[in-house]
């Protein structure tokens, strides 16, 4: 069996007595797109926050590439190759799209204790950043202030930033949220194209996207994993249908 890229063991987190992550066990295999689905409040975003280091876990361990990162800080995890997007777009709104990606490139290029040379004219940052913008289809918007981009463009920009950090595993928190059908479809194609290079953990409400992209799916309800399997296995799983799709009567 393949060594998992990300191994989650007995991961727990609660807020004031309410378990948002309850003893989660999950393996993400190299090269797969693994979707996590579940109803609102199931703890999906909490899971990503725990994995990216934004929240400290109460218990359990996370191993990435064989290394225990349970106690690592968010920046340290990112530098190991664990990059994330946010459910609510998180970009630097006051500067241009290109500046955003250049900053992510800079972050990946080692320490930033360089206090003299102007960063905005540094080809070592600008060129790869521009290339990434081209890749996500924002090249013609490079010099627009990020806060002025359309919503969908901002989401694309965030993905460009995620890619700029040179990740091995992408943690994508509802990348299609708030997008129109056409935009979503383009993003699905784009993510599918990335599949060869990156492993992905995808949280998504858009079931079409999930079933189109995912190799495996995990279903989370009240912070607990109730099923993991291929899309067809999940589709057939009665627990899932009952707990998640709310089809108690229909199945019975």
């Amino acid at each position: 069996m393949t060594e998992p890229l990300l191994a989650i063991r007995a991961l727990s987190k609660s807020f004031g007595g309410i378990a948002a992550a309850d003893n989660i066990e999950l393996d993400i295999l190299p090269g797969e797109i693994h979707a996590v689905i579940g109803p609102n409040g199931a703890g999906k975003t909490t899971l990503i926050n725990l994995l990216s280091g934004l929240l400290p876990a109460d218990a359990g361990t996370v191993h990435f590439n064989g290394v225990n990162i349970t106690k690592s800080s968010a920046p340290a995890r990112c530098r190991r190759g664990l990059a994330r997007s946010f459910q609510i777009t998180s970009i630097f709104r006051d500067v241009s799209a290109l500046d955003n990606v250049a900053l992510a490139i800079q972050a990946a290029a080692g320490h930033s204790f360089r206090l003299w040379r102007p960063a905005r004219t540094d080809p070592a940052l600008r060129d790869p950043a521009f290339a990434l913008l081209e890749q996500v289809g924002l090249a013609n918007r490079a010099n627009i202030r990020a806060g002025n981009l359309a919503h969908g463009e901002q989401r694309q920009l965030e993905i460009a930033m995620v890619l700029a950090t040179g990740p091995k595993l992408l943690l994508l928190d509802e990348p299609m949220a708030g997008m129109g059908t056409e935009e979503s479809e383009r993003l699905i194609t784009f993510l599918a194209g990335l599949k060869a290079k990156y492993t992905m953990l995808l949280i998504e409400h858009d079931m079409d996207a999930v079933f189109a992209l995912a190799d495996r799916i995990t279903v989370l309800v009240y912070g607990r994993v109730i099923a993991t399997g291929t899309p067809s296995e999940i589709r057939a799983n009665t627990d899932v249908r009952r707990a998640y799709l709310g089809e108690d009567e229909a199945v019975a």
């Binding site: 934004l54 920046p75 946010f86 970009i91 930033s112 905005r120 700029a164």
Partner: protein, 334 residues
Amino acid sequence: MTQTSKSQRPQNLWARLRDSRTSVSLLLLAIAAATPLAAPALGQSFYVDVIARIMIWAIAATSLNLILGYGGMVSFGHAVYLGIGAYAMGIMATEGITNGFIQWPLALLLCGFFALIFGAISLRTKGVYFIMITLAFGQMLFFLGISVERYGSDDGLLIFTRSEFDLGFAELDLSNGTTLYYVIWASLIGCIYLSHRIVNSRFGMVLRGAMSNETRMQAIGVPTYRYRLAAFVIAGMMAGLAGLLSANFERFISPDMMNWPRSGELIVMIVLGGMGTLFGPVLGSVAFLMLSELLSTWTEKWHLIFGPFLILVVLFARGGLAGMLERLNPRSDP
């Protein structure tokens, strides 16, 4: 798409001068450069001192702007580094060390050291807690200054000998008012240029990024704390330079330099001038000090006018003077 869109176009001089913020600021600096020559001829030598004092405050404000305007760190105890720089000089002068080559580096190192300690603790907190803990550190040193009798305690300390810079072949004589004036002027230019380099460097990008969206910054792998701390130390040392200059210029230092209203005034200058802009602190310190000078000669009750003026600035002049000047610019490409 051409190469130029990837890197910001290097602006030519003319393009920069069209920016009214820059041109007004450069004009002010040029006036400052000409003052020691022109003022005595006009019988206004007093204004040489006024402008020197404004420039010293402008250096301090520039240093605070580095962390506040570009890093979002609202330090309410920044005047303390002014005090440390000044007291380091004053204490050494009292103890007979007048060699500037010893005084200045030691004073700056001391400022850096204190900024490192205070910053390391303060930067663990956020928001209002940060404002308050920096205030606390400022007050600690303020009370320390009050209590050390040997160095004047509450009454302050007179400095009888200015720093001596003997280069062997020549001497930089700070007891010559004009020399000191131009040292202050050059220091201000130097500090503005240094902050210009810093805020546009990779380091500056991290600082600004962490101000605008810290979570994102962490998520792209940047441990923001250490960059903030480094900026805090740089700003502390720059303020220390202002303190050194002030001690040489006024030849009198008192703990009051470190008291919290002084830190408040520094913040006022920055916001008044336009925070997060290169020349904002200069514009702000000119406006603040000139206005208080003018109003206080006009009426003793000047606070009655100045207080509401500050409130109006906050309410209506967003972006401060720099912002107002920017609005004067001819509309250029978006």
